[in-house]
Assembly symmetry: D3
Homo-oligomer: 243 residues x 6
Amino acid sequence: MWENMAQIFNKLSSDPRVRAIVLSGAGEKAFTTGLDVKAASEGLLSSDAKTDPARKAAVLRRHITAFQDCITAVERCEKPVIVALHGFSLGLGIDLSTATDVRLCSRDTRFGVKEVDIGLAADIGTLSRLPKVVGNYGWVKEVALTAREFGAEEALRVGFVNAVYDNREATIAAAFKLASLIASKSPVAVQGTKEILNFSRDHSVQDGLRYTSVWNSAALQTQDVSAALLSGLQKRTPTFEKL
Amino acid sequence: MWENMAQIFNKLSSDPRVRAIVLSGAGEKAFTTGLDVKAASEGLLSSDAKTDPARKAAVLRRHITAFQDCITAVERCEKPVIVALHGFSLGLGIDLSTATDVRLCSRDTRFGVKEVDIGLAADIGTLSRLPKVVGNYGWVKEVALTAREFGAEEALRVGFVNAVYDNREATIAAAFKLASLIASKSPVAVQGTKEILNFSRDHSVQDGLRYTSVWNSAALQTQDVSAALLSGLQKRTPTFEKL
Amino acid sequence: MWENMAQIFNKLSSDPRVRAIVLSGAGEKAFTTGLDVKAASEGLLSSDAKTDPARKAAVLRRHITAFQDCITAVERCEKPVIVALHGFSLGLGIDLSTATDVRLCSRDTRFGVKEVDIGLAADIGTLSRLPKVVGNYGWVKEVALTAREFGAEEALRVGFVNAVYDNREATIAAAFKLASLIASKSPVAVQGTKEILNFSRDHSVQDGLRYTSVWNSAALQTQDVSAALLSGLQKRTPTFEKL
Amino acid sequence: MWENMAQIFNKLSSDPRVRAIVLSGAGEKAFTTGLDVKAASEGLLSSDAKTDPARKAAVLRRHITAFQDCITAVERCEKPVIVALHGFSLGLGIDLSTATDVRLCSRDTRFGVKEVDIGLAADIGTLSRLPKVVGNYGWVKEVALTAREFGAEEALRVGFVNAVYDNREATIAAAFKLASLIASKSPVAVQGTKEILNFSRDHSVQDGLRYTSVWNSAALQTQDVSAALLSGLQKRTPTFEKL
Amino acid sequence: MWENMAQIFNKLSSDPRVRAIVLSGAGEKAFTTGLDVKAASEGLLSSDAKTDPARKAAVLRRHITAFQDCITAVERCEKPVIVALHGFSLGLGIDLSTATDVRLCSRDTRFGVKEVDIGLAADIGTLSRLPKVVGNYGWVKEVALTAREFGAEEALRVGFVNAVYDNREATIAAAFKLASLIASKSPVAVQGTKEILNFSRDHSVQDGLRYTSVWNSAALQTQDVSAALLSGLQKRTPTFEKL
Amino acid sequence: MWENMAQIFNKLSSDPRVRAIVLSGAGEKAFTTGLDVKAASEGLLSSDAKTDPARKAAVLRRHITAFQDCITAVERCEKPVIVALHGFSLGLGIDLSTATDVRLCSRDTRFGVKEVDIGLAADIGTLSRLPKVVGNYGWVKEVALTAREFGAEEALRVGFVNAVYDNREATIAAAFKLASLIASKSPVAVQGTKEILNFSRDHSVQDGLRYTSVWNSAALQTQDVSAALLSGLQKRTPTFEKL
């Protein structure tokens, strides 16, 4: 399923008809039910076939990397991704949503970095991305070391989500409204903004500025700038070519 | 104008009579009216003279870099810079204020990362500095991708500004009060604190500690330390030599 | 005293009987009274023996590095460290507590990055770690440049502490409760989570993910995972071997 | 063809039957004839369909990235790759061979970073990897800025190739001999060595050491260590399980 | 004089008539006579006016930084710089030539990292750039710690210079020939190659590749590519527009 | 023994009577006989007591880190370290000598990165430091993946050693001569040069320059500069105070 998701995001990334993406959970109760514990424990038993710990480690490392790459496909997607969370959004729900750009949730959402409770350090992205999403290591350490759940209000207060809505439907509606707003802007400007923000997160300000100047040396040649400027002067709604 | 501003900050940086700087907008309505859209669109048309996109890119890149360097002069200024914001503080107002050390604003301030609305990714500093100022990528992505404006209360809540005041005058007065407080401290201590915090933002904790120990190996030899310690013991107000 | 503390933390780090650590101040009035100003000023006078500024700098640098290493021992300790702060927690109290994982405090705690008031830039860790703990450079610059004190409420609001309690006793009790909760989890999972979060703070997301996959390639082979999964299925409390 | 090559290397990377890989050119005259200039110029004309330079840039960037990823698959391959070069090994031949671990060549090999001669900066890997392979920026700048060809002797002198052989056959034979030697060693040791060297190239020594200790915390648990030690004591040739 | 040199290189950097630069020494005996020791020792005495070591340190740091920036202007110059060295090329001659792209010298050149002999660690660039030019830390440590001089043959052997010529005239002639060759190539390709090599020196391979793809997304749109490809097919010498 | 060595180097590092250090092997046959294979294999068997692979990994990681720290003590030693190698200098001999500043060897020295032959990736420093010492990844990959031995001539050619001497005595004599030469220079200049070169190895040129300017802001205040300058003018041998 995760490889499938990665393939979809890779496609959406360069599909010119797509300008913004909303990701939501289909079920009523949960955004994601997380890891299937039963299946996973069976999997662990079967991997016991290999007895050399170093060879087992190689297999595990390849598996973790492949799984990480699936989640990273969401972050690498050139189009902004908005996630609408609700219900249980534990474990993998956190991994996945930290790779998106904007997080909205319903009042009933239950969050949790639960991996410690199943005997492991979260390894699909939460520990690397969550602190950079919220910017506060103290809070992340507490929720990651204790695996305690937290609700929508706390998620809003620490800046994990951008807004809280009454229920799943309202959250998804808000996500689509936000996506539509972003889709009405120049895709050159929007995609450049996402890329430069992602680059800047992992680099010094000086490197961020240098990358930005090279990026915009091509992007500023777009007709979108004059289209946007002229519609501003003429009080018209601009339309922008696909990207 | 921007090159002028850079030259002024370069001068203030090493002028020993200066201990702290307050930056404010002269007009009633706006801290900065941002980019002059009309002039800019004329500029864009004229740069159409060059037809080779790679050569156009070189010209644009040099121009962006020169503009970035003007803003970076504020960050590099060795003396703390406090900005008093009010009214419209869009686009370049954000770029500029993220390069200062402390941001204060009046209740009526209208903020906005507006560049997406004119068809471009902000390239003068906002996308590299704003996330590190507020520490939260989720909120930054939303305001940068949508170009929606936000007010003083939201700016305070996310930590973009340190305090909100009733109006422009009160904000500037508070900025001067803060600047005076900082100016009453040892300039060796104050300038070292600014420099080490700026260095640490872009480096690992280990690198930050190493740089700090080298920096203070000279700075701790100052007479300001004993002056400060003795005035503390004697309940006197210390005076510190210029720097 | 500080070298002593480092040695203790180095020991606790690999002592298999230890799963979580609570650090608190013994006195009623203060978590730490900070630097002994009188002793320090005498120290400064005596170091005046050396007259060559470069040689003095070498002595100072070695001294600062040794002091930093003592504080870093707390951060490097493989077991989570919870600090219970109360009363005066100025200067070194901030340096020390930013090296712990979770900060709790009592309502009466007085915080302050006071070093500027004694003529120096904080050099034992605060300027490198505090901004990464709270994630907000604007607030850190203000409190570090002005040396103004702040209380428990402000510390909670900016995310410097995770929770505020009525008094010293309640804070310590809460710290022990939190430590017990963490101690009930798999030590493989807990110690891996601390290490990966510390690594990720100083590296790009991509580097964080790579390090995580290698770390967990050994850690996932632990019996704790199946122990945790099975107790989850059987609604039992798991017990985990020492580490 | 390049995507095909990437897929093959991705497969070889985790195929336990493979312990070392030899890459060579099938033709008599050339390791690679490089870019098909005619096809490429037709390609450029067709991409002229898009007229917005920013949108063209997006298409080009995606294309370059996809091409780079193909070459990077060789570097990421967990098994050592030895390349046997002969005849014309220009442009893409350099890009490709810098992503391998060991380069051998025949006396008649003609090397060249030729991209400048077709109006572009090499963008598939040469400019990032070649300086780190040979370690000398002065020589790299000269050959990259002038596009002048160089022969086997010069390649040996600057350390671009490890050895020079009389002809294509002798080079391939030597490559297989080297591959066999590597294949006779513990695959846990060999693959760890490649990975740690690749990691260390892009990180500080301190980071390299930290990564190494975590990597080997799993790898040292292999039975290969005792197998190797015992065969050493008993003067036997050890055999190692697949990986 | 050095600020003058920086201004000249800043101008040459964006002057479209310039495609490559040759830097040589005017005198017969020396490329540079290095620091004027007499003037410098007088300067040191006068700076003794300031008595506070921390304030002296600030003045010295600003002075070193300003001097470093002059040398860095050579590295930042967008056009390739070839230096023709002869005679005494000590101290500042090394600082300066490590900031150029290609170093040629005459047989009589005397090199030396002489700063240790005047009581200081070289601080204008040699210690940061020389190891990355030659790629070998062992040799650099020896010549920098002992201040021993070395000649043209040794400089060639370790890769500090690209070639050695009989005398100053022959060296300058060779430099001009090399500059002419580079000037005959596409300036888009040449300047991109210099920039990407400089960026890659200071970044990981992965970062280098990402920067390259963004850089070339604009650069590949140049008419130079098709001009170069077509002249290649038609065996004509291409001409390229200025940049 | 290794912890002992680290303690000695830590002491020498700040002992003002020490200006340069020569490290040599006492035996006739070998600089180091490397790992005691018999003892090591017994150690491995005993560590089999622990059965949980994750807990075993923690023990191994702590052990590797402690061992690495011993070798790093040589690199961190503030005084230059010259190693005189002879005879067998395999495995740990490489780890250790890459942490020194200058390597000299006798004609009979046998080098080898032998770890792969005992089933492991070298983890005490070789894989992180050797490529940065010689600057060439191609050669390092070959000798590390094959564990083939190499002699003094090859070590000289690739720049691993700075010079080759006839026998152990001549090598040690040369090391002492080099150490004496370095000891005759200003210790402020010498120790600063070592530190800045070590820092620059792991950082960008821009970071290296910034660190240098801060370092020298204290170091240039030394009386050694005027002492050196004046003795230069007066053709006297300067004497420098201890450090």
